[in-house]
């Protein structure tokens, strides 16, 4: 049974608080309701888009007013229409393993909204829908989810043999990611067979196509041992290996080399990202597109302090602690240290400092500063919502110091180096602190409904990531406008500076569009809404029953009924409040970002654009 702690605060306003629904409101609601009725066979993403916009219009938003009248129906309207938008976006934008992961995320979790619309849990149930609304992506999807009919004759003939005993129905009943692993196991077994055959004296092997297919399946699961065996076979038998025969999907677009499609070390839930080192295979000019002649000279990295670069020296735990405290700590209720000083030079950074000093959040215990360094190979930094910590990877400090010919302890004695290092990590601090701030705002605003299950939080969607990127970009741009202009950006990691560059080009929307494909594991706001309102359906239905009883038979309401009416009202209210708040926040953030960009894009020091 869910425990509700803030029932009094969060309870829906009494009946007359919201304006009644107009005829136009009811027409839109009817249209949106029809769109998500599987029996009516619409399920249109275009209609869903119109519904989402319409349901969020007004103040309070139409969905909030409708929720007061019928919370169950309102939850379904928001959840299912968002789910349809999310499905189309997922299918349109991705391919290969990222698409498979995303489809597994949408269809194979317990809170699958699309399943209620007969579009899951097996991806094959979406094929007709894709044919209607994104037909051009049908073959891409079929191949991406490794449906039986898209495996190709070589695979299906072998898998159907008595050695494997597979058939279409059985194959398609498997979870999506398991299909990749099943193909990997099949490929490993076939590689062993091929290896044995290739060692028979005088054997001639005609396995060019098979070898290419085996390699594709082995690469995806990262079976390096079998790949080495396959290399040996190919060399020994002189096989001129063929790439897997193109399917219809391939004809529409060429896959990147296999490294981008690796499932190595990825669980079916997609809990880990790919190794960065596996990706950098799209060499310049590889696609044969004419390479533009340089029109702007590259800027050399900012010269570091004298000192020959050394191999990075690992910090001890004590040194990690000391560096963390030197960079950022609380003194007299305010952030202090090199990082606090850097952040104090920009509005975004001041906002970060002010957050940790805010007594309102301190009272709620939601702004405790826990900053430090820890070895977390490969990452730059992160916010850990479970432990309420912001951490920078120790390697970041070790490599930064080493480029100056220093160890971290030596760097800590060099004030200039420490200032530069604080600047270097400041976009990450501003970015991650915004995540902590988001949770604090959710608690303060009363929409941290995840507190009922996983501790105070609201759902993590890409809308949160956008806000964090906004603040970190603004921090860099303002800092550099005051400290040297364009060349100052070389003091940041080029990945961070590139975010600022994209932000200046097109604002927050453009930055999101460009960065969205990089987060296949994170729900969009649409996906998050679909998931959260699906999870709340039984609560919404129970609330509706209680509301009906309260209206028609108030004398029959027991004490428990009355308590549940308040508690479940609060539970649903937090969800609607979360959804409408985040939706509105995204609009406000974009407007603020455009205003910032206008200020610094036309008049900012070092960033002014001369007229043509």
């Amino acid at each position: 049974m869910i425990k509700l702690l803030l029932a009094l605060i969060l309870t829906l306003p009494a009946g007359a608080a919201f304006a009644a629904l107009s005829d136009a409101d009811r027409t839109l609601i009817a249209e949106c309701t029809a769109n998500i009725d599987p029996a009516k066979k619409q399920l249109s993403p275009e209609t869903a888009d119109r519904c989402i916009k319409g349901l969020n219009a007004g103040s309070p938003a139409l969905v909030s007013r409708y929720a007061e009248e019928d919370p169950e129906a309102a939850a379904e309207l928001i959840g299912y229409n968002n789910a349809l938008l999310d499905l189309k976006k997922t299918v349109v934008k991705q391919d290969g393993v990222p698409l498979a992961q995303a489809m597994a995320r949408l269809l194979e979790k317990s809170d699958c909204s699309l399943c209620d619309l007969n579009l899951g849990p097996r991806p094959e149930l979406t094929f007709d829908w894709i044919g209607n609304y994104a037909s051009a992506r049908s073959e891409v999807l079929k191949k991406g989810v490794r449906t039986w009919d898209a495996l190709g004759d070589i695979r299906t003939a072998s898998l159907s043999s008595k050695d494997y005993g597979k058939n279409k129905a059985g194959w398609n009943s498997q979870p999506i990611i398991e299909r990749y692993f099943a193909l990997g196991r099949w490929a490993a077994a076939e590689t062993l067979k091929l290896d044995a055959a290739s060692k028979v004296a005088g054997a001639k092997i005609n396995a060019a196509a098979l070898a290419g297919i085996l390699r594709e399946d082995l690469k995806v699961i990262g079976d390096e041992a079998s790949l080495a065996t396959l290399d040996g076979i190919v060399a020994r038998a002189g096989i001129k290996e063929e790439a897997p025969k193109p399917t219809a999907a391939d004809q529409k677009g060429k896959d990147l080399a296999g490294a981008q499609d690796r499932l190595s070390a990825i669980t079916p839930d997609g809990q880990q990202d790919y190794l960065a080192s596996a990706f950098d295979n799209a060499a310049a000019g590889k696609g044969g597109v004419p390479v533009p002649k340089p029109g702007a000279a590259a800027v050399k990295p900012v010269a570091t302090k004298p000192g020959t670069a050394i191999t990075p020296v690992k910090m001890t735990a004590a040194e990690e602690k000391a560096l963390g405290e030197a960079m950022l700590r609380m003194e007299k209720g305010k952030p202090a240290g090199y990082l606090a000083d850097v952040m104090a030079q920009t509005d975004a950074g001041k906002r970060t400092n002010a957050f940790y000093a805010d007594p309102k959040y301190a009272k709620a215990g939601s702004n405790k500063l826990d900053f430090g360094f820890v070895r977390e190979e490969g990452v730059f930094g992160y916010w850990n919502p479970d432990d309420k910590q912001i951490r920078i990877n120790s390697e970041v400090a070790e490599e930064f110091a080493a480029k100056r010919g220093l160890t971290v302890p030596q760097m800590m004695k060099d004030k200039a180096a420490m200032k530069d290092f604080a600047l270097y990590v400041s976009p990450t601090m501003v970015h991650e602190a915004e995540h902590q701030n988001q949770t604090a705002r959710a608690i303060d605003g009363g929409y941290d409904f995840k507190k009922y299950t996983v501790g105070s939080d609201d759902p993590y969607t890409r809308a949160k990531e956008n806000l964090s990127n906004k603040w970190s970009s603004e921090h860099m741009i303002e800092y550099c406008s005051k400290n040297g202009g364009a060349t100052c950006f070389a003091k940041f990691h080029e990945m961070h500076a590139d975010n600022a560059d994209k932000f200046m080009q097109g604002g927050l929307d453009a930055l999101d569009t460009l960065k969205a494909p990089l987060y296949p594991r994170i729900d969009s706001l649409q996906g998050g809404a679909a998931r959260e309102f699906k999870a709340a359906q039984s609560s919404a239905a129970y609330l509706k029953t209680l509301q009906e009883k309260n209206r028609t038979n108030p004398a029959g309401m027991t004490a428990q009924d009355k308590k549940d009416l308040a508690d479940y009202g609060a539970l649903m209210n937090t969800r609607f409040k979360w959804y409408t708040s985040i939706y509105r926040e995204s609009e406000e953030a974009e407007a603020a970002a455009l205003a910032f960009r206008k200020k610094y894009g036309t008049a900012g020091l070092g960033l002014s654009m001369p007229a043509l």
């Binding site: 060429k254 310049a284 000019g285 950006f489």
Partner: protein
């Protein structure tokens, strides 16, 4: 409001649009028409400010993808007073050279040349940029991206046609972009 000329294309509950090799005609309100390559799909969702609030009207179409990255073509009309780019010159300046004023990561920018989009004079340029993957990693891979722009000034505002593709898909799909550019017709001038 968006308006599809081909009634079947993307209509509610409608069957799949009949796509011939030449693509399908697409009209964006009173702003422009283009022929979208067969098999390319329009993006529906959007957060943040509406087109009307930004005074930027247009659409983005997704083509073949390679892993996380899809080839895309977008066409937008920037009305006078829009919140993004006040003039075509400033748009060009911001996109044909490093937006921050310094080329920090080896991007390559082509020269701005004269060209045409449909029957309209355009400023044309291309560039090679990057995406960093995984995000927020210490040593992210740089995914090479090819982009090409056609900027069409009109009396009231300007249009931008943009092609974006990961390098491995860029050459294959460039012809689709060029065909769309050739089909471009401005409805607001």
């Amino acid at each position: 409001m968006l308006n599809l000329i081909m009634a079947l294309a993307l209509s509610a509950a409608g069957p799949a649009p009949a796509q011939d090799a030449a693509g399908q005609a697409y009209t964006e309100g009173n702003y422009f028409t283009v022929t979208v390559p067969a098999g390319w799909v329009k993006k529906d969702e959007g957060l943040g400010l509406s087109d009307g609030e930004k005074k930027v009207f247009g659409s983005e179409f997704f083509g073949p993808a390679a892993g996380k990255f899809a080839a895309r073509i977008s066409v937008h009309y920037y009305a006078p007073g829009n919140l993004l780019h006040p003039t075509p010159e400033k748009f060009i300046k911001l996109h044909s050279k490093p937006a921050l004023g310094a080329n920090l990561n080896g991007k390559v920018f082509g020269k701005v040349a004269k060209g045409k989009a449909g029957n309209y004079y355009a400023k044309v340029f291309e560039r090679k940029t990057f995406e960093y993957d995984p995000p927020e990693s210490l040593h992210p891979a740089k995914i090479h991206i090819y982009e090409k722009f056609h900027v069409v000034p009109v009396k009231h505002g300007f249009y931008v046609l943009r092609y974006y593709a990961p390098m491995d898909l860029a050459k294959t799909n460039l012809r689709h972009y060029e065909a769309l550019v050739a089909s471009f017709k401005a409805l607001t001038r």
